[in-house]
Protein backbone atom coordinates (compact mmCIF):
# COMPACT_ATOMS: atom_id res chain seq x y z
CA UNK A 1 0.00 0.00 0.00
CA UNK A 2 2.69 2.45 1.05
CA UNK A 3 4.64 1.65 -2.08
CA UNK A 4 1.59 2.43 -4.21
CA UNK A 5 1.16 5.77 -2.45
CA UNK A 6 4.77 6.63 -3.26
CA UNK A 7 4.18 5.74 -6.88
CA UNK A 8 1.02 7.85 -6.97
CA UNK A 9 2.93 10.79 -5.51
CA UNK A 10 5.67 10.37 -8.08
CA UNK A 11 3.02 10.62 -10.77
CA UNK A 12 1.39 13.83 -9.58
CA UNK A 13 4.08 15.86 -11.29
CA UNK A 14 3.43 14.09 -14.62
CA UNK A 15 7.05 13.07 -14.94
CA UNK A 16 8.73 12.08 -18.20
CA UNK A 17 11.22 9.88 -16.36
CA UNK A 18 10.70 7.80 -13.24
CA UNK A 19 13.65 6.25 -11.41
CA UNK A 20 12.47 3.31 -9.34
CA UNK A 21 15.15 1.99 -6.95
CA UNK A 22 14.29 -1.60 -5.87
CA UNK A 23 10.54 -0.79 -5.96
CA UNK A 24 9.41 -4.33 -5.23
CA UNK A 25 12.11 -5.67 -2.97
CA UNK A 26 10.20 -5.52 0.31
CA UNK A 27 6.92 -6.75 -1.16
CA UNK A 28 4.96 -9.97 -1.30
CA UNK A 29 4.88 -11.83 -4.57
CA UNK A 30 1.26 -10.98 -5.22
CA UNK A 31 1.65 -7.28 -4.37
CA UNK A 32 4.92 -7.24 -6.30
CA UNK A 33 3.10 -8.55 -9.37
CA UNK A 34 0.55 -5.75 -9.00
CA UNK A 35 3.26 -3.07 -8.74
CA UNK A 36 4.94 -4.46 -11.84
CA UNK A 37 1.63 -4.36 -13.71
CA UNK A 38 1.07 -0.77 -12.50
CA UNK A 39 4.50 0.38 -13.69
CA UNK A 40 3.99 -1.17 -17.10
CA UNK A 41 0.51 0.27 -17.54
CA UNK A 42 1.86 3.66 -16.62
CA UNK A 43 4.60 3.62 -19.23
CA UNK A 44 2.14 2.56 -21.87
CA UNK A 45 -0.48 5.15 -21.00
CA UNK A 46 1.57 8.23 -20.11
CA UNK A 47 4.61 7.59 -22.23
CA UNK A 48 6.87 8.08 -19.22
CA UNK A 49 10.22 6.27 -19.24
CA UNK A 50 11.35 4.21 -16.26
CA UNK A 51 14.80 3.38 -14.97
CA UNK A 52 14.28 0.36 -12.76
CA UNK A 53 17.13 -0.46 -10.38
CA UNK A 54 16.89 -4.01 -9.05
CA UNK A 55 18.70 -7.28 -8.50
CA UNK A 56 15.55 -9.30 -9.17
CA UNK A 57 15.84 -10.95 -12.58
CA UNK A 58 12.20 -12.01 -12.51
CA UNK A 59 11.09 -8.39 -12.13
CA UNK A 60 13.40 -7.35 -14.97
CA UNK A 61 11.99 -10.10 -17.17
CA UNK A 62 8.44 -8.97 -16.52
CA UNK A 63 8.92 -5.21 -16.62
CA UNK A 64 11.84 -3.95 -18.67
CA UNK A 65 12.43 -3.51 -22.40
CA UNK A 66 16.18 -3.14 -22.18
CA UNK A 67 18.61 -4.06 -19.43
CA UNK A 68 22.09 -2.84 -18.46
CA UNK A 69 24.08 -5.22 -16.24
CA UNK A 70 26.61 -3.66 -13.86
CA UNK A 71 29.70 -5.17 -12.25
CA UNK A 72 32.03 -3.41 -9.81
CA UNK A 73 30.76 0.04 -10.72
CA UNK A 74 30.66 -0.29 -14.50
CA UNK A 75 28.09 -1.32 -17.10
CA UNK A 76 29.31 -4.57 -18.66
CA UNK A 77 26.40 -5.59 -20.89
CA UNK A 78 23.44 -3.84 -22.48
CA UNK A 79 20.69 -5.26 -24.64
CA UNK A 80 17.06 -6.15 -25.13
CA UNK A 81 15.78 -8.02 -22.07
CA UNK A 82 14.92 -11.16 -24.02
CA UNK A 83 18.42 -11.30 -25.54
CA UNK A 84 20.32 -10.64 -22.33
CA UNK A 85 18.32 -13.04 -20.15
CA UNK A 86 18.04 -15.85 -22.70
CA UNK A 87 21.44 -15.55 -24.36
CA UNK A 88 23.71 -13.55 -22.05
CA UNK A 89 27.05 -12.70 -23.67
CA UNK A 90 29.23 -11.39 -20.87
CA UNK A 91 30.55 -14.27 -18.72
CA UNK A 92 29.33 -12.46 -15.59
CA UNK A 93 25.77 -12.17 -16.92
CA UNK A 94 25.92 -15.80 -18.05
CA UNK A 95 27.08 -16.87 -14.56
CA UNK A 96 24.31 -14.84 -12.89
CA UNK A 97 21.58 -16.31 -15.05
CA UNK A 98 22.84 -19.84 -14.52
CA UNK A 99 22.92 -19.44 -10.74
CA UNK A 100 19.19 -18.68 -10.44
CA UNK A 101 17.24 -21.70 -9.22
CA UNK A 102 14.22 -22.51 -11.37
CA UNK A 103 11.01 -24.26 -10.51
CA UNK A 104 10.87 -27.57 -12.33
CA UNK A 105 14.65 -28.03 -12.34
CA UNK A 106 16.62 -29.59 -9.52
CA UNK A 107 20.34 -29.92 -10.21
CA UNK A 108 22.58 -31.50 -7.57
CA UNK A 109 24.64 -28.34 -7.39
CA UNK A 110 23.58 -24.89 -8.59
CA UNK A 111 26.07 -23.41 -11.04
CA UNK A 112 27.84 -20.71 -9.04
CA UNK A 113 30.30 -17.90 -9.70
CA UNK A 114 33.16 -18.51 -7.28
CA UNK A 115 34.67 -15.68 -5.27
CA UNK A 116 33.10 -12.33 -4.46
CA UNK A 117 32.56 -8.91 -6.03
CA UNK A 118 35.79 -6.91 -5.49
CA UNK A 119 35.82 -3.88 -3.24
CA UNK A 120 35.69 -0.75 -5.33
CA UNK A 121 38.98 0.34 -3.76
CA UNK A 122 40.67 -2.89 -4.87
CA UNK A 123 39.35 -3.38 -8.38
CA UNK A 124 41.54 -5.92 -10.26
CA UNK A 125 43.73 -4.72 -13.13
CA UNK A 126 42.33 -5.22 -16.60
CA UNK A 127 38.80 -6.62 -16.60
CA UNK A 128 37.39 -6.30 -13.08
CA UNK A 129 35.75 -9.72 -13.47
CA UNK A 130 38.91 -11.57 -14.56
CA UNK A 131 39.76 -13.36 -11.26
CA UNK A 132 36.30 -14.99 -11.26
CA UNK A 133 35.91 -15.48 -14.99
CA UNK A 134 35.82 -19.04 -16.39
CA UNK A 135 36.85 -17.72 -19.83
CA UNK A 136 39.70 -15.49 -18.65
CA UNK A 137 42.43 -14.90 -21.23
CA UNK A 138 45.87 -13.36 -20.97
CA UNK A 139 44.75 -9.93 -22.12
CA UNK A 140 42.00 -9.82 -19.48
CA UNK A 141 44.52 -9.30 -16.68
CA UNK A 142 46.24 -6.46 -18.54
CA UNK A 143 43.69 -4.42 -20.45
CA UNK A 144 40.28 -3.22 -19.38
CA UNK A 145 37.73 -4.04 -22.10
CA UNK A 146 35.67 -1.03 -23.19
CA UNK A 147 31.91 -1.21 -23.65
CA UNK A 148 31.67 -1.98 -27.37
CA UNK A 149 28.36 -1.38 -29.14
CA UNK A 150 27.07 -3.64 -31.88
CA UNK A 151 23.73 -4.45 -33.47
CA UNK A 152 22.60 -6.51 -30.46
CA UNK A 153 23.53 -4.02 -27.76
CA UNK A 154 26.87 -3.63 -26.03
CA UNK A 155 29.37 -5.81 -24.14
CA UNK A 156 32.54 -5.00 -22.24
CA UNK A 157 34.48 -8.24 -22.69
CA UNK A 158 37.56 -9.21 -24.69
CA UNK A 159 35.70 -12.22 -26.06
CA UNK A 160 33.63 -9.74 -28.03
CA UNK A 161 36.28 -7.12 -28.83
CA UNK A 162 36.50 -6.14 -32.49
CA UNK A 163 40.26 -6.67 -32.71
CA UNK A 164 41.17 -10.28 -31.95
CA UNK A 165 42.64 -10.52 -28.47
CA UNK A 166 46.40 -10.98 -28.60
Amino acid sequence: MRQRVVIALALCAEPRLIIADEPTTALDVSVQAQIIALLRKLCKETGASVILVTHDMGVIAETADRVAVMYAGRVIEVGAVADVLRAPRHPYTAGLMASIPRIGEKPDILPQIDGAMPRLTARPEGCAFNPRCPKQMDICTRLRPGLVEDTQGAVACHLFSKEPAT
Partner: protein, 347 residues
Protein backbone atom coordinates in the same frame (compact mmCIF):
# COMPACT_ATOMS: atom_id res chain seq x y z
CA UNK B 1 2.52 -37.04 6.87
CA UNK B 2 5.63 -38.69 5.58
CA UNK B 3 5.84 -42.20 4.26
CA UNK B 4 8.91 -43.15 6.30
CA UNK B 5 8.57 -45.70 9.02
CA UNK B 6 11.35 -44.22 11.12
CA UNK B 7 10.32 -41.83 13.91
CA UNK B 8 10.62 -38.21 12.75
CA UNK B 9 13.36 -35.98 14.19
CA UNK B 10 10.93 -33.10 14.63
CA UNK B 11 7.21 -33.38 15.16
CA UNK B 12 5.07 -30.24 15.36
CA UNK B 13 1.38 -30.59 16.09
CA UNK B 14 -1.44 -28.15 16.67
CA UNK B 15 1.14 -25.38 17.15
CA UNK B 16 -0.42 -22.02 18.00
CA UNK B 17 0.84 -18.56 18.94
CA UNK B 18 -1.24 -15.45 19.57
CA UNK B 19 0.20 -12.02 20.23
CA UNK B 20 -1.88 -9.67 22.34
CA UNK B 21 -1.88 -6.25 20.72
CA UNK B 22 -4.61 -4.82 23.01
CA UNK B 23 -4.25 -1.56 24.83
CA UNK B 24 -3.98 -1.83 28.61
CA UNK B 25 -7.19 -2.92 30.37
CA UNK B 26 -8.03 0.54 31.68
CA UNK B 27 -7.75 2.14 28.22
CA UNK B 28 -9.98 -0.58 26.82
CA UNK B 29 -12.65 0.23 29.39
CA UNK B 30 -12.47 3.98 28.80
CA UNK B 31 -12.27 3.78 25.01
CA UNK B 32 -14.59 0.75 24.84
CA UNK B 33 -12.09 -0.91 22.52
CA UNK B 34 -11.94 -4.65 21.98
CA UNK B 35 -9.12 -7.00 22.82
CA UNK B 36 -6.90 -7.43 19.81
CA UNK B 37 -5.24 -10.78 19.26
CA UNK B 38 -3.09 -11.70 16.29
CA UNK B 39 -3.16 -15.42 15.70
CA UNK B 40 0.30 -15.48 14.12
CA UNK B 41 0.36 -19.28 14.10
CA UNK B 42 -3.01 -20.97 14.21
CA UNK B 43 -2.77 -24.76 14.29
CA UNK B 44 0.27 -25.92 12.33
CA UNK B 45 1.18 -29.62 11.92
CA UNK B 46 4.23 -31.13 10.22
CA UNK B 47 7.01 -33.62 10.78
CA UNK B 48 10.58 -33.68 9.49
CA UNK B 49 12.53 -36.89 8.98
CA UNK B 50 16.21 -37.02 9.90
CA UNK B 51 18.47 -35.80 7.08
CA UNK B 52 15.62 -34.13 5.20
CA UNK B 53 14.65 -30.53 4.49
CA UNK B 54 11.16 -29.18 5.00
CA UNK B 55 10.52 -25.64 3.82
CA UNK B 56 7.81 -23.20 4.78
CA UNK B 57 6.77 -20.67 2.14
CA UNK B 58 4.19 -17.94 2.15
CA UNK B 59 3.73 -14.22 1.94
CA UNK B 60 4.98 -11.70 4.47
CA UNK B 61 3.26 -11.96 7.84
CA UNK B 62 1.87 -15.48 7.35
CA UNK B 63 3.75 -16.70 10.44
CA UNK B 64 6.87 -18.41 9.07
CA UNK B 65 9.34 -16.72 11.42
CA UNK B 66 7.03 -17.23 14.36
CA UNK B 67 7.06 -21.00 13.72
CA UNK B 68 10.88 -20.84 13.63
CA UNK B 69 11.06 -18.92 16.91
CA UNK B 70 8.60 -21.27 18.59
CA UNK B 71 10.69 -24.28 17.64
CA UNK B 72 13.88 -22.63 18.88
CA UNK B 73 12.19 -21.65 22.15
CA UNK B 74 12.67 -17.92 21.44
CA UNK B 75 8.98 -17.37 22.11
CA UNK B 76 6.44 -19.49 23.99
CA UNK B 77 3.61 -21.26 22.16
CA UNK B 78 0.00 -20.55 23.11
CA UNK B 79 -0.77 -24.19 22.39
CA UNK B 80 0.29 -27.37 20.67
CA UNK B 81 3.40 -29.46 20.88
CA UNK B 82 6.94 -29.50 19.50
CA UNK B 83 8.75 -32.80 19.90
CA UNK B 84 12.41 -33.26 19.11
CA UNK B 85 13.20 -36.96 18.94
CA UNK B 86 10.19 -37.46 21.16
CA UNK B 87 11.21 -34.89 23.80
CA UNK B 88 8.55 -32.19 24.36
CA UNK B 89 9.94 -28.66 23.89
CA UNK B 90 6.74 -26.60 23.93
CA UNK B 91 6.76 -24.39 27.01
CA UNK B 92 10.49 -24.81 27.66
CA UNK B 93 12.56 -21.62 27.53
CA UNK B 94 15.39 -20.87 25.09
CA UNK B 95 18.45 -23.02 25.73
CA UNK B 96 16.53 -25.53 27.87
CA UNK B 97 16.83 -28.48 28.12
CA UNK B 98 20.48 -27.91 27.18
CA UNK B 99 21.22 -31.44 25.98
CA UNK B 100 18.43 -31.12 23.39
CA UNK B 101 18.94 -27.45 22.50
CA UNK B 102 22.61 -28.02 21.72
CA UNK B 103 21.44 -30.23 18.90
CA UNK B 104 19.35 -27.41 17.34
CA UNK B 105 20.68 -24.13 15.95
CA UNK B 106 19.29 -21.25 13.90
CA UNK B 107 20.54 -19.13 11.00
CA UNK B 108 18.88 -15.75 10.54
CA UNK B 109 18.00 -13.71 7.48
CA UNK B 110 20.13 -10.69 8.12
CA UNK B 111 23.82 -11.55 8.25
CA UNK B 112 24.50 -7.94 9.25
CA UNK B 113 22.29 -7.77 12.32
CA UNK B 114 22.88 -11.30 13.59
CA UNK B 115 26.63 -11.01 14.24
CA UNK B 116 27.90 -8.94 17.17
CA UNK B 117 29.85 -6.09 15.49
CA UNK B 118 32.22 -5.65 18.44
CA UNK B 119 33.36 -9.28 18.58
CA UNK B 120 36.04 -10.83 16.46
CA UNK B 121 34.81 -13.61 14.20
CA UNK B 122 36.62 -16.33 16.19
CA UNK B 123 34.78 -15.31 19.35
CA UNK B 124 31.44 -15.20 17.53
CA UNK B 125 31.90 -18.72 16.19
CA UNK B 126 33.18 -20.07 19.52
CA UNK B 127 30.32 -18.63 21.57
CA UNK B 128 27.89 -21.59 21.28
CA UNK B 129 30.71 -24.06 22.07
CA UNK B 130 31.50 -22.02 25.15
CA UNK B 131 27.94 -21.63 26.39
CA UNK B 132 27.11 -25.30 25.82
CA UNK B 133 30.51 -26.38 27.18
CA UNK B 134 31.32 -28.63 24.22
CA UNK B 135 34.98 -27.49 24.00
CA UNK B 136 36.04 -26.34 27.49
CA UNK B 137 39.72 -25.94 26.54
CA UNK B 138 40.28 -22.51 24.88
CA UNK B 139 43.05 -23.82 22.63
CA UNK B 140 40.95 -26.74 21.40
CA UNK B 141 38.13 -24.26 20.86
CA UNK B 142 40.31 -22.04 18.68
CA UNK B 143 41.49 -25.04 16.67
CA UNK B 144 37.87 -25.98 16.10
CA UNK B 145 37.06 -22.40 15.02
CA UNK B 146 39.89 -22.53 12.46
CA UNK B 147 38.59 -25.84 11.14
CA UNK B 148 35.04 -24.51 10.88
CA UNK B 149 36.17 -21.35 9.06
CA UNK B 150 37.89 -23.50 6.44
CA UNK B 151 34.94 -25.86 6.30
CA UNK B 152 32.60 -23.03 5.24
CA UNK B 153 35.02 -21.66 2.68
CA UNK B 154 36.80 -18.93 4.69
CA UNK B 155 40.36 -18.93 6.05
CA UNK B 156 41.67 -19.50 9.59
CA UNK B 157 43.14 -15.97 9.50
CA UNK B 158 39.60 -14.57 9.12
CA UNK B 159 38.96 -15.43 12.78
CA UNK B 160 40.89 -12.34 13.86
CA UNK B 161 38.77 -9.95 11.80
CA UNK B 162 35.54 -8.15 12.67
CA UNK B 163 32.19 -8.77 10.91
CA UNK B 164 32.26 -5.42 9.07
CA UNK B 165 35.31 -6.61 7.12
CA UNK B 166 33.19 -9.21 5.31
CA UNK B 167 30.61 -9.13 2.52
CA UNK B 168 27.03 -10.31 3.06
CA UNK B 169 27.74 -13.77 1.68
CA UNK B 170 30.87 -14.16 3.82
CA UNK B 171 28.93 -13.08 6.91
CA UNK B 172 26.32 -15.71 6.16
CA UNK B 173 29.18 -18.25 6.01
CA UNK B 174 30.26 -17.03 9.46
CA UNK B 175 26.67 -17.49 10.73
CA UNK B 176 26.68 -21.02 9.34
CA UNK B 177 30.05 -21.80 10.97
CA UNK B 178 28.67 -20.56 14.30
CA UNK B 179 25.47 -22.57 13.86
CA UNK B 180 27.29 -25.85 13.17
CA UNK B 181 29.95 -25.33 15.87
CA UNK B 182 28.15 -27.43 18.48
CA UNK B 183 27.61 -30.19 15.91
CA UNK B 184 23.84 -29.78 15.82
CA UNK B 185 21.68 -32.25 13.94
CA UNK B 186 18.91 -29.79 13.20
CA UNK B 187 19.13 -26.28 11.72
CA UNK B 188 16.35 -23.74 11.44
CA UNK B 189 17.21 -21.39 8.56
CA UNK B 190 14.99 -18.30 8.39
CA UNK B 191 15.41 -16.71 4.94
CA UNK B 192 19.17 -17.33 4.95
CA UNK B 193 19.66 -16.05 1.40
CA UNK B 194 16.97 -13.39 1.10
CA UNK B 195 19.40 -10.52 1.73
CA UNK B 196 21.94 -11.84 -0.76
CA UNK B 197 22.14 -11.44 -4.53
CA UNK B 198 21.75 -14.43 -6.83
CA UNK B 199 25.40 -15.34 -7.30
CA UNK B 200 26.04 -15.32 -3.54
CA UNK B 201 22.74 -17.10 -2.94
CA UNK B 202 23.88 -19.98 -5.17
CA UNK B 203 27.12 -20.28 -3.14
CA UNK B 204 25.25 -20.41 0.18
CA UNK B 205 22.61 -22.87 -1.07
CA UNK B 206 25.36 -25.15 -2.41
CA UNK B 207 27.21 -24.92 0.90
CA UNK B 208 24.04 -25.84 2.80
CA UNK B 209 23.41 -28.87 0.59
CA UNK B 210 27.03 -29.96 1.00
CA UNK B 211 26.81 -29.64 4.79
CA UNK B 212 23.63 -31.65 4.75
CA UNK B 213 25.26 -34.45 2.78
CA UNK B 214 28.44 -34.50 4.87
CA UNK B 215 26.98 -33.99 8.33
CA UNK B 216 23.56 -35.55 7.80
CA UNK B 217 21.83 -32.34 8.90
CA UNK B 218 18.07 -31.90 9.04
CA UNK B 219 16.74 -28.48 7.96
CA UNK B 220 13.65 -26.41 8.54
CA UNK B 221 14.08 -23.84 5.80
CA UNK B 222 12.03 -20.65 5.51
CA UNK B 223 11.75 -18.53 2.41
CA UNK B 224 9.28 -16.69 0.26
CA UNK B 225 11.15 -17.68 -2.90
CA UNK B 226 9.46 -20.68 -4.48
CA UNK B 227 12.39 -21.52 -6.75
CA UNK B 228 14.89 -21.53 -3.87
CA UNK B 229 12.58 -23.69 -1.83
CA UNK B 230 12.08 -26.03 -4.77
CA UNK B 231 15.87 -26.46 -5.03
CA UNK B 232 16.62 -27.06 -1.34
CA UNK B 233 13.61 -29.05 -0.06
CA UNK B 234 12.32 -32.57 0.23
CA UNK B 235 8.98 -31.38 1.60
CA UNK B 236 7.27 -28.00 1.22
CA UNK B 237 4.58 -26.44 3.36
CA UNK B 238 2.62 -23.43 2.10
CA UNK B 239 1.34 -21.09 4.83
CA UNK B 240 -1.46 -18.54 4.65
CA UNK B 241 -2.44 -16.33 7.60
CA UNK B 242 -1.05 -18.58 10.31
CA UNK B 243 -2.24 -21.88 8.86
CA UNK B 244 -0.61 -24.49 6.66
CA UNK B 245 -2.81 -24.75 3.57
CA UNK B 246 -0.80 -27.37 1.70
CA UNK B 247 2.02 -29.78 2.54
CA UNK B 248 3.50 -32.13 -0.05
CA UNK B 249 6.78 -33.48 -1.42
CA UNK B 250 8.80 -30.77 -3.21
CA UNK B 251 8.83 -32.80 -6.41
CA UNK B 252 5.04 -32.76 -6.53
CA UNK B 253 3.77 -29.57 -4.93
CA UNK B 254 4.74 -27.23 -7.79
CA UNK B 255 4.06 -29.77 -10.53
CA UNK B 256 0.63 -30.67 -9.16
CA UNK B 257 -0.43 -27.81 -6.87
CA UNK B 258 -3.69 -28.72 -5.15
CA UNK B 259 -4.65 -25.69 -3.08
CA UNK B 260 -5.90 -22.57 -4.92
CA UNK B 261 -3.40 -20.45 -2.95
CA UNK B 262 -0.45 -22.59 -4.04
CA UNK B 263 -1.69 -22.15 -7.60
CA UNK B 264 -1.93 -18.38 -7.13
CA UNK B 265 1.61 -18.21 -5.77
CA UNK B 266 2.90 -20.13 -8.77
CA UNK B 267 1.03 -17.83 -11.14
CA UNK B 268 2.50 -14.71 -9.56
CA UNK B 269 6.14 -15.77 -9.62
CA UNK B 270 7.91 -13.49 -12.08
CA UNK B 271 8.91 -15.71 -14.95
CA UNK B 272 12.44 -15.26 -16.28
CA UNK B 273 11.64 -17.21 -19.41
CA UNK B 274 9.25 -14.32 -20.19
CA UNK B 275 6.60 -16.66 -21.52
CA UNK B 276 3.67 -15.17 -19.64
CA UNK B 277 4.66 -11.53 -19.67
CA UNK B 278 1.27 -10.28 -20.75
CA UNK B 279 -1.08 -12.40 -18.67
CA UNK B 280 -3.36 -10.72 -16.15
CA UNK B 281 -2.03 -10.95 -12.61
CA UNK B 282 -4.30 -12.23 -9.86
CA UNK B 283 -5.47 -9.40 -7.64
CA UNK B 284 -5.89 -9.13 -3.91
CA UNK B 285 -3.70 -8.75 -0.88
CA UNK B 286 -3.13 -10.71 2.29
CA UNK B 287 -5.93 -9.69 4.70
CA UNK B 288 -5.25 -8.16 8.11
CA UNK B 289 -4.27 -11.00 10.49
CA UNK B 290 -6.08 -9.30 13.43
CA UNK B 291 -9.45 -9.76 11.73
CA UNK B 292 -8.92 -12.69 9.35
CA UNK B 293 -11.84 -13.65 7.09
CA UNK B 294 -14.12 -16.33 8.62
CA UNK B 295 -14.27 -19.85 7.23
CA UNK B 296 -11.38 -20.38 4.86
CA UNK B 297 -9.01 -17.42 5.36
CA UNK B 298 -8.31 -17.44 1.65
CA UNK B 299 -11.91 -17.15 0.44
CA UNK B 300 -11.91 -13.40 -0.48
CA UNK B 301 -9.13 -14.03 -3.00
CA UNK B 302 -10.16 -17.48 -4.11
CA UNK B 303 -11.72 -18.06 -7.55
CA UNK B 304 -13.34 -21.27 -6.27
CA UNK B 305 -14.94 -19.94 -3.08
CA UNK B 306 -18.57 -20.83 -2.39
CA UNK B 307 -20.97 -20.37 0.52
CA UNK B 308 -19.41 -23.20 2.56
CA UNK B 309 -15.94 -21.60 2.22
CA UNK B 310 -17.20 -18.37 3.78
CA UNK B 311 -18.37 -19.96 6.99
CA UNK B 312 -16.69 -23.30 7.59
CA UNK B 313 -12.96 -23.69 8.13
CA UNK B 314 -11.61 -26.49 5.92
CA UNK B 315 -9.72 -29.27 7.72
CA UNK B 316 -6.14 -30.17 6.87
CA UNK B 317 -6.62 -33.57 5.27
CA UNK B 318 -4.98 -35.93 2.79
CA UNK B 319 -4.87 -34.77 -0.84
CA UNK B 320 -3.59 -36.40 -4.05
CA UNK B 321 0.00 -35.36 -3.23
CA UNK B 322 0.10 -34.73 0.51
CA UNK B 323 -2.21 -32.65 2.68
CA UNK B 324 -4.39 -29.67 1.81
CA UNK B 325 -6.81 -27.40 3.64
CA UNK B 326 -9.52 -26.63 1.05
CA UNK B 327 -13.16 -27.57 0.61
CA UNK B 328 -12.91 -27.55 -3.18
CA UNK B 329 -9.96 -29.95 -3.15
CA UNK B 330 -11.79 -32.21 -0.75
CA UNK B 331 -15.04 -32.07 -2.73
CA UNK B 332 -13.09 -32.79 -5.92
CA UNK B 333 -14.49 -29.74 -7.70
CA UNK B 334 -11.16 -28.28 -8.82
CA UNK B 335 -9.84 -28.83 -12.32
CA UNK B 336 -6.55 -30.70 -12.64
CA UNK B 337 -3.69 -28.34 -11.87
CA UNK B 338 -1.69 -26.96 -14.75
CA UNK B 339 1.98 -27.83 -14.78
CA UNK B 340 4.24 -25.06 -13.59
CA UNK B 341 6.51 -23.30 -16.09
CA UNK B 342 10.26 -23.01 -15.49
CA UNK B 343 9.95 -19.94 -13.35
CA UNK B 344 12.35 -18.25 -10.99
CA UNK B 345 11.28 -16.70 -7.73
CA UNK B 346 12.47 -13.42 -6.31
CA UNK B 347 16.26 -13.23 -6.40
Amino acid sequence: MSHHNEAPLLEVSGLRKSFDLSKPFINRVIERSERQLVKAVDGVDFTIQRGQTLSLVGESGCGKSTVAKLIMGLTRPSGGSIRFEGAELAGQVAGKPAHVRRRMQMIFQDPYASLNPRWRVARIIAEPMKSFGTHPDPEARRREVDRLLEFVGLGAADGDKFPHEFSGGQRQRISIARAISTKPEFLVCDEPTSALDVSVQAQILNLMRELQRELGLTYLFISHDLAVVNYISDWIGVMYLGRLVELAPAAEIFAKPQHPYTRLLLDTVPDISMSNRDIERPAGEVPNPITPPPGCHFHPRCPHANARCKTEMPEFIASATGHARCHAVQEGRLSAPTTAPAAAGAV
